[in-house]
Amino acid sequence: MSEIDEITLLDAYRMMRTIRAFEERVHEEFATGEIPGFVHLYAGEEASATGVCMHLDARDTIASTHRGHGHCIAKGVDVKAMMAEIYGRGTGSCRGKGGSMHIADLTKGMLGANGIVGGGPPLICGTALAAKHEGAGGVGVAFFGDGASNQGTTLESLNLASVWNLPAVFVAENNGYAEATSSSWSVACDNIADRAAAFGMPGVIVDGFDFFAVHEAAGEAISRARRGGGPTLIEVKLTRYFGHFEGDQQTYRAGEVAHARENLDCLLRFRTRVTERDLLTDKQLDAVDVEVDALIDAAVAEAKRAPRPAPGDLATDVYVTY
């Protein structure tokens, strides 16, 4: 932990805090009825996206899931454009055509949230392949959930990545549930990380409430991938703070969330750790909070004011040429 410098620590905190504030705010705004569609929030899982993406740069790509806001923010997608997208506005990341489940920014190496469970891992085999051909040390990271770890497309991607010796990292975010189905039931082995051996790659388990643990494990996997050492499967154990999607009453897991929020929360733990060890001050962190909250306020305000897509956009952007 001592190797992480002050600026990096502040960046990490800002990233996690931005995700949290973004998600808490979308949760509130959704309740007003103004945000349409299916929205899956990432609050509680911030240390995962952040711990991984802090290691990534312009060479690198990530693929995400239906629960994609955190990954997008961590990979540098513009927060205001994201908010506008969630509101279905023409100023959104996808000009209002994608929505929460499809926020993407290819210029940032962010291949998209994905409405298909298990949709991302195959794509990351491809971006990792492209990175390998390019030879500049780029890596591809696929984020996916415990539920997705049972999908054949995910499993066969692990094998392909290994066979092709790709610079890829597979991050299984095990938040205990796929919708209302418990991962302890749906995943037939003890840990998702145990599946790594079936595909000839190392498997690692990390505490997803601990930024530092994620950061360290991801750092190792990513640098091995950059060096040509092949893929890794990292299982991050964590909890989502909201329902599967907005509207889910969560009757299936009474109490769990409150416990996690109070005792395990990644932001709280980060703050305690960095202030106790005098790496950052509460004042520094509070300043970030203020900055972030202002950014989110502005993002919401601008999104609400932004125009909807024009009728003429309906059937454009289907092809480059047709």
């Binding site: 299916f38 055509k97 409405g115 298909i116 539920g147 054949g152 796929a178 299936y252 309906l314 289907v318």
Partner: protein
Amino acid sequence: MARTISYREAINEALAQEMERDPRVIVMGEDNAGGAGSPGEDDAWGGVLGVTKGLYHRFPGRVLDTPISESAFIGAAIGAATRGMRPVAELMFIDFMGVCFDQIFNQAAKFRYMFGGRAITPVTVRTMYGAGLRAAAQHSQSLYPIFTHIPGLKVVLPSSPYEAKGLMIQSIRDDDPVIFCEHKMLYDTVGEVPEESYAIPFGEAGIVREGGDVTVVAFGRMVGMAEQAAGQLAGDGIECEVIDPRTTSPLDTETILESVESTGRLVVVDEATPRCNMATDVCALVAQEAFGALRAPVQMVTAPHAPVPFSDALEDLYIPDPQRIANAVKSVAGWKR
């Protein structure tokens, strides 16, 4: 005795009645039993939109949860069907067919033919289709033309609670593989539904409105849109015959052709994208089989050749609506060579 219930309740009731009647009927799908047994939860989810809710405790051991692995569990439903069971598997959104299509079209659909008529595979795949929920490109498609294309499958598109119940009962009892397509925007629509069990036969269209000027064939949710358009048009003195085929495979070609023989004019309304869809299917049928009666160009009212957009501003334009249907009807009603 009929009472007013929703499309969702009608499907649920059909499942319950068939499970009661026939122990070989089982139900499976993601979160069909999800959450059951947790503290704080006194029932299972009954699927993401609750269509199978209430069945879990009522039919112990016969409502199965599944991991997210559609090939495996849809395949399992198919395998079980070859062994005498009558499984009803939930493919949550029809958009997810891409991860399990092989089991449906190369396995279930082809067993009977490939095995020389020596197989029956009475599986029902329930699945949710259609736009309108702001669910964007991967959760809003109307992919039934793809299933209709495949020999060996039957494809069902109930347009009302009454049809939903009767067609679901028929689907379960049918000896062939059935793709039962539920429109997500219809779940909360209500209508009169008999309490008793009844089956609506496949391949028999409903004529939901009679009229002598223009034949309007509409599918699934589009039936209601067509009825609205027909209502408006009646005010303008144009009488539409609105046909709800109920199933796209088999298709009741007779009712459609007969109607066109008398109206000489055809509009087909299909929520699917326009290429190789049901609109082309019905128009081509009529242009081949009832050309002599046709007195105007056929008209297709469909989604554009584009994925489903997220923004309400665009999605509302995407879905065929009564206005576009009425315009199409008017254009053929007034057509002169």
